[in-house]
């Protein structure tokens, strides 16, 4: 057994850190937070120039053929610095789907631009009445000549205001069981009938509701089989379920340490000597370590060619729940100082604890709620009967 990531990964980590030192400025962090838009064109292109948008892809497709552990190193470092990568994440997720099931024409049209950071693709899965239960999507696509006409509404279409395409889940057949009547489309955002309405969230991120009124889409933009949308969606959700929040726990820990080192208790002793706080800091370190291990196990298994069952959901579930729990614990230990806002000049540790109290709420909801992940673990991991 060997728990080292290996010299290549560590060398890569040093390279990534140097790159981020150069490209992540306090101004950019401030702008990303104030606008709520986790995408920066210049930063994305700089990453693309290094070949780091899809480092795991083969070289001939614009990647670097890096292994899953190296990709994880990159993702970890980007998240530790809270780099604006949300748009990159959704774009690459769809690119991965296109690589698997797209036509040669679709691949030729989209992949080079996606991998060079020229386009942003956003996700149109959730609806007002369909969140965790995506198979109940009601947005309709009806055949019309050599294309389709789409009508409906999507929730949480983050980055739609800067997006070039939306990867849309729509119902194409109402005569079959609901999982079998869905089809995926890649809809150009500048198409007539697409409307974007901003939604502001607790974490500061801006997202959107998107409306589709008689939007005409050529059949060339259908992704995968007609009525085979559920299979196509599964490919993309599998990628999303590999997400993890170890890096966010690392930021939280650093902020709490920063506060503890610079604060005295009522008796004039350094807070870092407070036993309750030390216990919670120790626990936070353990949660961070476990988050990393569960996450690395996924990458290692992928690299070793071992079949994954629910290791991805375990990683996502544990790290998001731990992030929330430890943020709450640490905020209580910090008392009023935890209230100072993120990026406020008076806030200890840049206000990361205050920020985590808000943004961690999303981590147990998006990319599959904790309940959905527990269902998967109970059924596929433990072999329990279908839960309800």
């Amino acid at each position: 057994m060997d728990f080292r990531l290996g010299p290549d990964s560590e060398e890569f980590r040093a390279e990534v850190r140097a790159f981020l030192d150069e490209h992540i400025t306090p101004e950019m962090t401030e702008r990303v937070y104030r606008t709520g838009v986790s995408h920066d064109e210049a930063f994305t292109r700089a990453l693309a120039e290094r070949g780091w948008l899809a480092p795991g892809w083969p070289v001939e497709l614009g990647g670097q053929g890096r292994d899953p552990l190296e990709m994880q190193v990159l993702a970890d470092e980007l998240r530790v610095r809270d780099a604006p990568t949300y748009g990159i994440g959704t774009t690459l997720m769809v690119a991965t789907v296109l690589r698997a099931v797209g036509t040669p024409a679709q691949q030729a049209e989209i992949l080079p631009r996606a991998l060079s950071g020229q386009i942003v693709i956003v996700l149109g899965f959730s609806e007002p009445e369909a969140g965790s239960d995506l198979a109940s999507a009601a947005t309709r696509a009806v055949p019309d000549g050599d294309g389709w006409v789409i009508n409906g509404q999507k929730m949480f279409t983050t980055n739609a205001q800067i997006g070039d395409y939306v990867f849309l889940l729509a119902r194409t057949n109402t005569e079959v069981p609901r999982h079998r009547g869905l089809t995926m489309f890649l809809v150009p955002m500048d198409q007539e009938g697409v409307e974007v309405q901003p939604v502001f969230t607790l974490s500061g991120e801006r997202t959107n509701i998107t409306f589709y009124n008689d939007v005409r889409v050529s059949d060339a933009w259908r992704i995968g089989e007609v009525d085979g949308g559920w299979q196509t969606l599964t490919v993309s959700l599998a990628a999303e379920h590999g997400s993890a929040f170890g890096s966010a726990i690392e930021r939280l820990l650093a902020a709490a340490e920063d506060w503890a080192a610079g604060t005295l208790d009522d008796g004039g002793r350094p807070m870092l000597e407070d036993l309750s706080l030390r216990e919670t800091l120790g626990r936070t370190m353990a949660d961070l370590e476990v988050s990393r291990l569960l996450q690395r196990r996924v990458a290692w298994m992928a690299e070793a060619g071992l079949p994954l069952t629910t290791e991805g959901p375990m990683s996502k579930l544990f790290s998001s729940e731990a992030l929330q729990d430890r943020a709450q614990d640490l905020a209580e230990l910090m008392g009023p100082d935890a209230l100072r806002s993120y990026l406020d000049p008076t806030a200890p540790g840049h206000g990361e604890v205050e920020h985590t109290l808000r943004h961690s709420l999303g981590t147990t909801i998006y990319a599959g709620t904790s309940e959905i992940h527990r269902n998967m673990i109970a059924q596929r991991g433990l072999g329990l009967p279908r839960t309800r």
């Binding site: 728990f3 290996g6 870092l272 036993l275 030390r278 370590e289 291990l293 375990m314 329990l384 009967p385």
Partner: protein
């Protein structure tokens, strides 16, 4: 990164898994109560070289890595082994670490002639309280002040009944060979404690996983309201959480034991971290698995109560999880008052 055991390690796992399957099934665990010592299992463990393997080759042992020992500890924890495996391995390694002063005693331990254990807490009064294996050991190594002494255990030891049916004893201190003094004694003791924490973490992580299995088996079989209870989210989701914690505990315990040999700078941080996490994972998994048995879980006849009691006892007798997390902080920030 490689998370699979090597071929040699797999063989080690298989050997001990077979031994525990045969010699430590739940009936034997029960039969050994309340003392918690199965003589036959112990003799077989010693005969298989469990203590000898823990000691470096230059001290007459087989020089197994702490990771190898952790893989054995997993089997021990999974089977709730009623024999003092971990404490005696740790004590033997401590004797080896303190050098010539303890060479004779170590030779007797390796020959199987003496059973030597270690008191996991520094002793402040005239009695070393709740010494693991104290009820069956010949000697206990005690840190008293800045002196590590091998205290012979006499007839005056008191064997208290206890939650985990462990062979614990309150041992009155008496004169014995001093094997280390001053800062060296403390360093040796702390290293031994880290070994103990890492190995117990492995045992508790495996105990947690086994508790989840017992809970899943029961919840898959038992029906209520017309379906197996494992199909209710109130049951399935808890077991899913326990499984995730058990997996995390297992990975962290193996990483900690691996670090003893391969990343020694991080080992003192990882050992208590793995211990705290595994203790809580085993505590919670055995609780929920017992709870989902309903009234049957409350009956002595069902095995899950064995895990419930041991998950708490094995952990608390060495160091409660909260203290373990504070030890992690001590290692990262230095002890309180040092600044």
């Amino acid at each position: 990164m490689e998370l699979r055991p090597s071929a040699d390690q797999q063989q080690l796992i298989d050997t001990f898994a077979a031994l525990y399957a045969k010699e430590s099934p739940p009936e034997r665990v029960r039969a050994a109560e309340p003392l918690g010592f199965d003589r036959r299992l112990w003799d077989l463990l010693v005969g298989l070289g469990s203590i000898t393997m823990a000691v470096p080759e230059e001290d007459g042992g087989w020089g197994a890595s702490l990771l190898d020992l952790a893989l054995v500890a997993e089997q021990h924890g999974r089977a709730l082994g009623p024999a003092p495996l971990i404490e005696t391995q740790v004590a033997a390694r401590l004797l080896a670490r303190t050098g010539p002063a303890a060479a004779d005693l170590l030779a007797q331990v390796l020959a199987g002639d003496r059973l030597v254990t270690l008191a996991p807490r520094p002793c402040r009064g005239p009695v070393a309280g709740l010494v693991p294996a104290g009820a069956v050991a010949d000697d206990v190594i005690v840190l008293h002040g800045d002196t590590l002494t091998v205290v012979p255990i006499g007839e005056d030891r008191v064997v208290p009944g206890n939650l985990g049916s462990m062979p614990l004893a309150d041992v009155p201190l008496r004169e014995g060979p001093v094997i280390a003094t001053g800062p060296a004694a403390e360093v040796a003791f702390e290293s031994a404690l880290d070994d103990w924490l890492a190995l117990t973490a492995a045992a508790l992580a495996a105990m947690a996983l086994r508790s989840v299995e017992i809970g899943v088996d029961y919840a898959s079989e038992r029906e209520a309201f017309g379906q197996p209870i494992g199909g209710f989210q109130a049951v399935g989701h808890r077991l899913a959480d326990c499984r995730v914690a058990a997996d995390g505990a297992g990975l962290l315990a193996r990483q900690a034991a691996w670090a003893a040999g391969e990343d020694p700078e991080r080992f003192p941080v990882l050992a208590p971290m793995a211990y705290g996490f595994a203790a809580e994972a085993a505590r919670d998994a055995s609780y929920w698995a017992l709870h989902f048995h309903g009234g049957y879980g409350f009956m002595l006849e069902y095995d899950i109560q064995l895990s419930y009691r041991r998950s708490r006892a094995w952990a608390n007798v060495v160091m409660d999880p909260r203290r373990a997390y504070r030890r992690v902080a001590d290692r990262r920030y230095g002890p309180v008052g040092a600044g």
